[in-house]
Symmetry: C2
Subunit: 243 residues, 2 copies
Amino acid sequence: MNDLRIVNHQVTLVDQVEDRLLGYFKDNNLGPGDPIPKELELAEALGVGRSVLREALSRLRMLGLIETRTRRGMLLAEPSLLRGMKRIVEPNMLSDKTLFNILGFRVALEIGMSEMIFQNLNKKHIEDLEDIVKRGVVKKFSEYTPVTEYEFHTKLYEVTGNSTIMEFQAIIRPVSVFLKERFQDYFLPINKELSKAGKLVSHKDLLDFLKKGDKEGFRRGMIDHFGPYYSFLKRENPFEKKN
Amino acid sequence: MNDLRIVNHQVTLVDQVEDRLLGYFKDNNLGPGDPIPKELELAEALGVGRSVLREALSRLRMLGLIETRTRRGMLLAEPSLLRGMKRIVEPNMLSDKTLFNILGFRVALEIGMSEMIFQNLNKKHIEDLEDIVKRGVVKKFSEYTPVTEYEFHTKLYEVTGNSTIMEFQAIIRPVSVFLKERFQDYFLPINKELSKAGKLVSHKDLLDFLKKGDKEGFRRGMIDHFGPYYSFLKRENPFEKKN
DNA sequence: AAATCATTATATGTCCGACAAATAACACAT
DNA sequence: ATGTGTTATTTGTCGGACATATAATGATTT
């Protein structure tokens, strides 16, 4: 705890202290459950005022990395992977590019889950999905209501049994909804056309693939289901000429 | 029944202020570039001391949501989606379950990217990948060195043109490395066996699929390439009996 | 002696006032 | 009009004070 002292005053002290603390935890192999020195001692060791230290601690507390109890001191805890992200996924705050990236992220993730879905799928899941499909509300041109979309896809995520993936999708879902709404001039005609041509992959189609155990069919179905998103992203990002 | 006890009797003021600020930004449709009131005004309006307000602001500053310049006041800025996550992805800090979830997340994402990869792939990408494969260092039993693994897969991510996905993979990569190392007793024999049986999908194999434009082959190849991870995760998570 | 209750000491939560540092805005000189 | 210096304002940092909760200790009761 002696080699923590701050010298450089370029970046704000709080930023540096935050860094130092993380480094301190790492270097000392501290993990969830381990106690850390009290505020006054840390401030002293870092050579900063208590307010600066507290701002840094506050940041780490937000991420769930630190838990504090009055009089009992501070403990490290397992941080929440996505708590930071959760606060800022807000269409108003993010650039179009980021929103498109998030949409692409979601599509890739959901398609990539197929393998896991087939690995974990059981009867209960099928029943639940059947129920969702049965209750599902369809607007014109085979378009689902947001709630129906939400239920079906959330269930698919659930089948993976991966709570991190589930948490992630719950956080970024508003982005898909937002984009679909904002660019409905693009999506509606496409859906209309696909629907007329009978090429639209419905939730029921996907469920049938699952029931038959048709992995490849399911994956192709998912890709088609997301087809409008793919073409949308391609259109919005026409010149990907990095490097 | 002892750990039901409520310890944190009150949500701290800082937590509440953080929430209020986010709500304020949202309700007023504020976005990147918009100025926000100065500290003293905010503290006054919120009815809290400046230090409490500053702790909350510090959290948002960490996420990149707020930029401040002395005397010029504070501006909203586009936050970084993953900056919060970046700080806490540290194997020592995360439970095994979370680490496994992250690995599964990565595998799903990387497989799901296939479609995007084929959409964006150009000659330059192929050349780069060929170069990486050519220079690649292989240890015994066809196992790649971490650097080679890193270069190849990073390049694949790059082809997607999705900077959010790229940033994400860069952050969580240490987890794969860590798990592979920690559970080498599991992975090494499997790789050895696959290698002997000639069933191991190499980077070169994957590249060949890309060159031939064989989308399905590439996807199957990726799944096989990640086969050991799949079986590992299945073993580590044998009873997924939620709901 | 064991259990219960009251007191004390201590760590975090919050407030406040002060000053430093940076710089936008203004005033002034050429 | 341009350049220069001064002033005012805003964030960054410090330190002290008190509130609150509670672990530790000691006192009281049975």
